[in-house]
């Protein structure tokens, strides 16, 4: 009883503790000092009468949290799982089936679709998620280009290795999936599982670690419940209160950019080519940054994701003149690749006639080299293709800030607390990898728990090696995306632009390299 009363610390003390947390440079000593103050006797806490026990406690009922709970239910049905969600349960299917896809959607790799049980295969049972509930806006090609660069990158599912086991599936690079139906479908499965319990409209008020790290984690929630768990998983989003509470530091690059996203109706009545488009925009007035046009499950709709300056996002989000926005984007998307500015600018009169002739020759030669890529691409029918035309905006315009963040490791506090999803890392949306990274970590976590359960070890056993490997793999992807963003942000440095164009041509024309990149992006194969 004394422990419970000590748990309900007044808010002022909590606040003070959080302030200390922000000043503390090391993550773990904070937890240690806390537990020392709070908990003198571990066994007293373990025999805490009013506490609810669960083997795994997941905070956050988004896609990552739900996917983890679902995977645990499927692989280890006897394991008890408790899910804490700050919001309401997802509403059941709307009566009028709305065909317009919501812009809150994710680009998922085939591997992620597999983890979520969204790919039909021969072993599909009635237990699997029905595909009609969650619709896939799959794509088998990807086109990336810039206006002032003759090179175009065009990746196709044909670059993926032949896999006999997946012949019945559409060959795809990925699929766009709406958040709402996906979470709803996962949630329904969780609710029907006997070993899974869910608290909605509940937040974590405080958490407490045992002094030696071996014991259970005690969590106090806003519904005045005390939970005890062997493994606390924080899937509570980019602003993760649990991460902040533990004082875990993140490496961070703020892009000073925001993303604007909405659903558009296409003007043509024919089907959208199953292609994801991405154009890099330069120039202040156009709104620098990548502009993506993604296919959806509806052939008449596509989702626009425009990552640009906060001023641009504010201007276009607040405007009532949606037609002006459509015209602006139409213009950007319909502009194909153009010539590069000359590497060596020859100004008549400044150099002697003979040298200027040589310079002119060098310039032409360089231009030929750079254009050769585009010409080769045309012969392989991999040249630039104009995206479908946009007609009107048919959804609310949403915006979110962009940053690249990453924690040093996913497991903390003697492996009893794990950070997954946005709580651990966020990336620029240009590569569409954010959720894929989170689901990859979910897969590793489940794999580790399955292995330790098979030999009767505690869940913490083996967690370290599994998550360390996944963290290394994910971090290289995060750094890769960050580097790509920086490369494409280059716009005034002419030699660098030439180098980039040359690099893109090499990437496009060298088959093995291109295939390797496509595999890395879709199957989580790391170089």
């Amino acid at each position: 009883m004394t422990v419970i009363s000590r748990l309900r610390a007044p808010t002022s003390i909590l606040l003070k503790r959080r302030l200390t947390a922000s000043r503390n440079s090391h993550g773990l000593p904070l937890a240690a000092s806390l537990s020392a103050r709070w908990l003198s006797n571990d066994t007293a806490a373990a025999s805490n009468e009013g506490a609810r026990y669960s083997d795994v406690l997941i905070v956050g009922g988004g896609v990552v949290g739900c996917a983890l709970a679902r995977q645990l239910n499927q692989r280890l049905p006897s394991l008890s799982v408790h899910l804490v969600e700050a919001r309401d349960a997802p509403t059941s299917k709307p009566a009028s089936s709305n065909e317009i896809p919501h812009p809150r959607s994710y680009a998922l790799s085939p591997q992620s679709l597999d983890i979520l049980g969204l790919l039909s295969s021969e072993e599909t049972t009635s237990d699997e998620m029905a595909n009609q509930d969650v619709k896939l806006g799959w794509y088998d090609a990807m086109q990336i280009w810039e206006a002032r660069n003759p090179a175009t990158l065009r990746f196709h599912a044909d670059d993926l290795p032949f896999d006999e086991a997946k012949l019945d599936r559409p060959k795809m690079l990925g699929a766009v999936v709406e958040d709402g139906p996906l979470v709803r479908a996962l949630w329904e499965k969780l609710e029907s599982h006997p070993q899974t319990t869910i608290s909605t409209n509940t937040t974590v008020q405080d958490l407490q670690l045992s002094s030696n790290g071996q014991g259970v984690v005690t969590v106090e929630t806003s519904d005045n419940e005390i939970h005890q768990t062997r493994l606390l998983v924080a899937a509570d989003g980019a602003q993760s209160p649990i991460r902040q509470r533990l004082g875990v530091k993140q490496a961070q690059w703020d892009y000073g950019r925001q993303a604007l996203t909405f659903t558009v109706e296409l003007s043509q009545d024919d089907r959208i080519p199953r292609t994801a488009y991405q154009r890099f925009i330069h120039g202040q007035e156009a709104g620098r940054g990548p502009l993506a046009l993604l296919p959806t499950h509806s052939p008449r709709h596509a989702i626009v994701v425009w990552s640009t300056t906060p001023e641009m996002v504010k201007k276009w989000k607040e405007t009532d003149d949606n037609n002006a926005l459509i015209d602006h984007l139409q213009n950007l998307l319909q502009t194909g690749p153009q010539r590069l500015p000359p590497l060596v600018e020859s100004k008549p009169g400044q150099v002697p006639p003979l040298l200027s002739n040589v310079l002119f020759g060098v310039e032409r030669l360089l231009e030929t080299v750079q254009d050769a890529g585009a010409m080769l691409a045309a012969t392989n029918s991999r040249s630039w293709m104009a995206p479908p035309k946009l007609s009107k905006i048919v959804s609310p315009k949403l915006s979110f800030p962009l940053a690249c963040r990453n924690v040093g490791q996913y497991h903390h506090a003697s492996n009893r607390v794990v950070l997954v999803g946005d709580a651990a890392h966020t990336v620029h949306p240009m590569a569409g990898q954010g959720l894929n990274l989170g689901l990859g970590a979910v897969e590793s976590l489940v794999e580790s728990i399955v292995e330790s359960e098979a030999v009767g070890m505690d869940v913490t056993y083996g967690l370290d090696s599994f998550l360390r490997k996944r963290h290394a793999a994910n971090s290289s992807v995060i750094m890769g995306i960050h580097a790509l963003h920086e490369i494409f942000a280059v716009q005034d440095n002419v030699p660098l632009m030439h180098a980039k164009s040359f690099g893109m041509n090499v990437m496009q024309q060298v088959g093995p390299l291109r295939r390797r990149i496509v595999q890395a992006a879709t199957q989580g194969v790391v170089f």
Binding site: D42, T43, A46, S47, Y53, D55, P77, S78, S210, Q214, G215, V216, Q228, T229, R230, S452, E453, V455, G456, M457, D458, Y461
Partner: protein, 304 residues
């Protein structure tokens, strides 16, 4: 500093010299160890009890890693043998039932409860005994602390030898187990024969299994476990092991034979790579029983 090094070298040398002496007198040595076998004696060595009771604080410390990392393959071995033994006799109605569901298991020399906890998580009803009261209390605390409900029913009994446990059984209520484990215990016992006799009397006659794991008495095991692990690398405290207490699989099989037990299977346990950076990665190796080994025994069907 130098004198300390010299001293440690001298201790290594003395230890090796003593071992060599023992090897030369092997036959008489085994006789001497087994001579004490009688029904009333206990196999507990008081020196060992006080040595391990002193370790109760750091038993679950990850720095005690060699044994924690070895546990999964010991469990894999036990599950493998149990499944082979029971595949014909039992058919699980519930496919979700844990592999040792409804099994009665005895962990002799449970220490901090490493093996007992694993067996309990896999569904067994575990009785765990250890001569050290302090260690058993620590084990009990640890089981409660981890919060896992499957660990609440482990029957921990401190200060109890297997002979004393066996003495409590009477003909009307025989105390019998499906699985009896003597893992990493023989090398710490003062009277192996008495221990094996008592343990084998607790094994269910038809389907019960007795598991033993210990270290073989070879030059390789001396080099690796005493010189390497204790003196050079300091992975385990010096004096944890006494090479003279190690036993070869043949010796154990012979002792078992004397108490009506036959060997089912024996396998070596080897490290896949040198344990650098604290990474202990064990695997079962049927051919290499030179250092660590594990074996399974059962009651002979027709005692001769």
């Amino acid at each position: 500093m130098l004198s300390a090094v010299r001293q440690s070298h001298r201790r290594v040398f003395n230890s090796i010299a003593a071992s060599l002496h023992r090897v030369r007198n092997r036959n008489s040595y085994i006789g001497q160890r087994y001579r004490g076998a009688s029904s009333t004696s206990t196999s507990i060595s008081q020196d060992e009890v006080s040595k391990f009771s002193g370790m109760d604080k750091d038993w679950w410390d990850p720095s005690f890693h060699p044994l924690i990392a070895m546990n999964p393959i010991r469990i894999r071995y036990i599950l493998d043998i149990v499944q082979k033994q029971h595949s014909a006799t039992t058919n699980h109605n519930n496919p979700n039932a844990p592999p040792l569901h409804n099994f009665k298991a005895l962990d002799v020399g449970c220490g901090g409860g490493l093996l007992s906890e694993s067996l309990a998580r896999l569904g067994a009803n575990v009785t765990a005994i250890d001569p050290s009261e302090a260690l058993v209390q620590k084990a009990q605390e640890h089981a409660m602390q981890t919060g896992d409900p499957r660990l609440r029913n482990i029957d921990y009994r401190g200060g109890l030898s297997v002979e004393e446990l066996a003495a409590t059984e009477d003909d009307n209520h025989p105390l019998l187990f499906d699985v009896v484990c003597l893992l990493e215990v023989l090398e710490h016992a003062s009277d192996v024969a008495s221990l094996v006799q008592a343990a084998s009397s607790l094994v269910k006659p038809d389907t019960g299994l007795l598991f033993v794991s210990t270290m073989n008495r070879t030059w390789k095991s001396h080099l690796l476990t005493i010189v390497g692990a204790e003196y050079i690398m300091g992975y385990v405290p010096r004096g944890t092991h006494d090479w003279n207490q190690y036993l070869a699989p043949q010796e154990v099989a012979q002792t078992m034979d004397g108490f009506g037990m036959e060997q089912v299977h024996v396998s070596g346990m080897v490290l896949t790579k040198p344990p650098l950076c604290g990474q202990w990665d064990w695997k079962l190796d049927g051919n290499d029983t030179d250092v660590n080994w594990i074996g399974a025994y059962r009651r002979r069907i027709n005692p001769t």
